[in-house]
Amino acid sequence: MNSTEKNKDADMERNLLEAFVSDLVSSGVISDAHQAFPAMAPDKNAGSYFEEHRPLMGKAACCSINYNCAEDLQRILEIYWRDQPYMKSIAPSIAELSFALKSKIQLDDDISPFVYTL
């Protein structure tokens, strides 16, 4: 891929993601979602930080996740987020964005050391 094509992809990505983030902010997801994230600081009074392992997508060790269109992916995300209405509300945006970005963004030759956070 040449640099012109890379720049076009980068612009498209930025536009799509900005639109997505703007939706997130306006939908109230941000204010609701804090409760679902682990605490950011130690708790000296806690006896243990272990949590019980919960298989997050069914009891089977292996599962198939099939999505041939954005609606399929939306359904999967809505099922996964069924107990988190704020996240469920953004499932359509995520699904649409995923299909729009599908394989469009080339993985950089320069591998960021922070790729582990992906």
Binding site: E13, L16, L17, F20, V21, L24, V25, V29, I30, A33, H34, A36, F37, P38, A39, M40, A41, P42, D43, K44, A46, G47, S48, Y49, F50, E51, E52, H53, L56, M57, A60, A61, C62, C63, S64, I65, N66, Y67, L73, L77, Y80, W81, M87, I90, I94, L97, S98, L101, K102, S103, K104, I105, L107, I111, P113, F114, V115, Y116, T117, L118
Partner: protein, 611 residues
């Protein structure tokens, strides 16, 4: 029945093929592309696995990806939202990559190979379950406690579970952002090494320092409970909100800014390295004890990137918390491919599991080998001068003689290793008795930092003569002390003021096997037995018969920044571009001083980025 496991789009992409419970092939993508830690979809690795198995993609009964991208998206979004970084470029970049690549592995596979196995569908599992499977299934145990520790998978960063026959149950976990792997990586970066590849350098630096910051770390950065569970204080870390591990608050805590890469290493970094190593060991020991108490198992298996910390592994072993231990040699994400393949075999396809008391990981020799014809054709085409030694015994003696003479020998034999360690198939060998061998190999062959120690390959029968290690370590996963009878007087206390350059310290003889004795008398040991690698065993045995010394320096066949060599071409390129003296490619022996450099056609080797 065939299952193919894939890991990709994170770091260390890999593929692994399992047939009826037997591991047929496993290999990292980086070995083919020559890009270290290559994260891309592992086309070449998959291609190799299918070739080795003599099958087409349509004959695969299951193709499985080692983690679940839906769960990762969930974690990234929650992290971005919780920290207020959702509108940052960092989160946008990460999310963009996830949504554009990680969700489409099935499509990538189909595009290249026509179908995703017999059923044309891709299976998914969970990241730490892949690690757990990679640790348990190849082990010789019917039942074992399973401990997995890494940077992060989807949500889990640490898990404890039990494996029994073919069932794996994960019981407890610690969740992101609280991660021992991230903590260690933060210090890796602080000491000026590269995250996700420099962690073992930090481990190697630790013995040069004193753990004087361990208390500060425990008071400020990590709270560790008696059961080994922990939480980090995220005020000091930036990896949730920015593309860096640490912020100013972290640097202020230690009184110095982070070291710039390639700049001089000072006593401060040595002390910091010693401190985080001590804290990491404390966590791992507590986790191991908790796993024992919780499960009642007598055996322990380990995986996840933190299980590559072989200093900590050695301490767990010496504490005798468990009767026996087995650690997945490809403990990082590359091993997830193998774990996923085995999980699909035993749990999805319900194949029975038979434990192999010998070695179901086959010595880790799971990559490609090359024929005599392929090798000779390449040598002739490139005007390289060589001799052929058909007689195995004579070849072993030749290698032993040259090593005894101080030569550095590149060894390329048989199938390539899987995982980060060279185990005698793609190794550079030297005489461990020569004090200058460590600096010579570091500076003239590997072109790497001079403080870094080398590892010994020792005949299993001779291990207890040289080291305080009573169990086999065929995959170089345990660090143990050199026996007192082989040590010379030496103390790092004499050098703590930092006035001596590291190279001076390194060149002081610490034992009668100085090239593999670290400054604290430790060594990262590979025990070699006849079953796993008969060729390599014979070479070391020939060296012992000649010199009385039953071990060799073994370092991986590559220069710094380069993946371990895969093909004869890679090996020759490395040989010709370093000061290696001799190259042995199967039965072909090349001497550097016989090569006409002007006649050698360099077929365009890559410039490697420093790691």
């Amino acid at each position: 029945m065939y299952t193919l496991g894939l890991s990709a789009l994170y770091h260390d992409s890999a593929a692994a093929l399992v047939k009826n419970g037997e591991i047929v092939a496993a290999v990292q993508e980086e070995r083919f592309t020559r890009k270290k830690h290559d994260p891309r979809f592992p086309v070449n690795a998959i291609e190799y696995c299918l070739q080795e198995g003599h099958i087409e993609a349509s004959q695969l009964d299951a193709v499985i990806f080692y983690e679940n991208p839906i769960l990762t998206i969930d974690r990234v979004l929650h992290a971005g939202i919780a920290t207020g970084a959702v509108s940052s470029l960092t989160t946008a970049n990460i999310l963009g990559s996830l949504l554009s690549r990680k969700l489409w592995v099935a499509d990538n596979f189909r595009e290249v190979f026509g179908c995703v196995g017999r059923g044309d569908e891709l299976l998914f599992t969970e990241h730490h379950l892949s690690h757990a499977a990679s640790a348990f299934y190849p082990s010789p145990f019917e039942r074992a406690a399973i401990l997995t520790v890494d940077g992060v998978g989807e949500w889990a960063t640490t898990t404890i579970g039990v494996g029994e026959n073919k069932n794996i149950q994960i019981a407890q976990e610690i969740r992101f952002p609280h991660s021992l792997g991230m903590l260690y990586s933060a210090f890796t970066m602080y000491c000026g090494f590269r995250v996700n590849s420099g962690e073992y350098k930090l481990m190697g630096l630790a013995p040069y320092g004193r753990p004087k910051y361990a208390k500060i770390i425990k008071e400020n950065l990590i709270d560790i409970k008696e059961d080994g569970s922990f939480h980090l204080n995220m005020e000091f870390f930036d990896y949730l909100t920015a593309e860096r591990m640490i912020g100013e608050k972290f640097e202020k805590l230690f009184g110095e800014k982070n070291r710039k890469p390639e700049s001089e290493i000072t006593p401060h970094q040595m002390d910091v390295a010693a401190s985080i190593q001590k804290v990491t060991e404390e966590v791992l020991l507590k986790l191991a004890r908790h796993a024992r108490n919780m499960t009642g198992c007598q055996n322990l298996v380990l995986a996840g990137g933190v299980a590559l910390n072989c200093v900590a592994n050695g301490k767990i072993m010496r504490e005798q918390i468990f009767n026996r231990m087995w650690i997945q040699p490809a403990a990082g994400d590359a091993g997830g491919a193998l774990g996923a393949a085995l999980l699909a075999m035993y749990q999805h396809l319900d194949h029975p599991r038979k434990t192999d008391q010998k070695d179901s990981q086959k010595g880790c020799f799971l990559g490609p080998a090359f024929s005599y014809d392929d090798i000779q054709e390449y040598l002739d085409q490139n005007n390289l001068r060589y001799v052929q030694e058909e007689n195995q015994d004579k070849l072993d003696k030749l290698i032993a003689r040259e090593l005894d003479g101080g030569m550095i020998v590149g060894l390329f034999r048989g199938r390539m290793e899987y995982g980060p360690r060279a185990l005698g198939a793609r190794s550079i060998l030297g005489d461990p008795r020569q004090v200058e061998m460590q600096s010579k190999m570091n500076l003239k062959i590997k072109y790497r930092e001079s403080f870094r120690p080398f590892a010994p390959s020792v005949l299993m029968d001779d291990c207890e003569e040289y080291f305080d290690l009573t169990q086999a370590s065929p995959y170089m996963q345990f660090v143990a002390p050199v026996k007192k009878t082989h040590r010379k007087p030496f103390s790092m206390k004499n050098f703590c003021d930092g006035s001596n350059p590291i190279i001076e310290i390194v060149n002081i003889k610490r034992s009668d096997i100085p090239a593999v004795t670290h400054v604290d008398y430790s060594a990262r040991i590979q025990t070699v037995d006849k079953n796993r690698n008969p060729h390599y065993y014979r070479i070391i045995d020939a060296f012992r018969k000649r010199t009385g010394c039953g071990l060799l320096v073994n370092t991986s066949f590559n220069v710094r920044g380069e993946p371990i060599v895969c093909t004869p071409q890679d090996a020759v390129r490395c040989f010709m571009n370093t000061e290696m003296d001799i190259l042995v490619l199967e039965k072909y022996v090349l001497y550097k001083n016989q090569q006409l450099l002007s006649q050698y056609y360099d077929d365009g080797g890559t410039e490697y980025e420093l790691d």
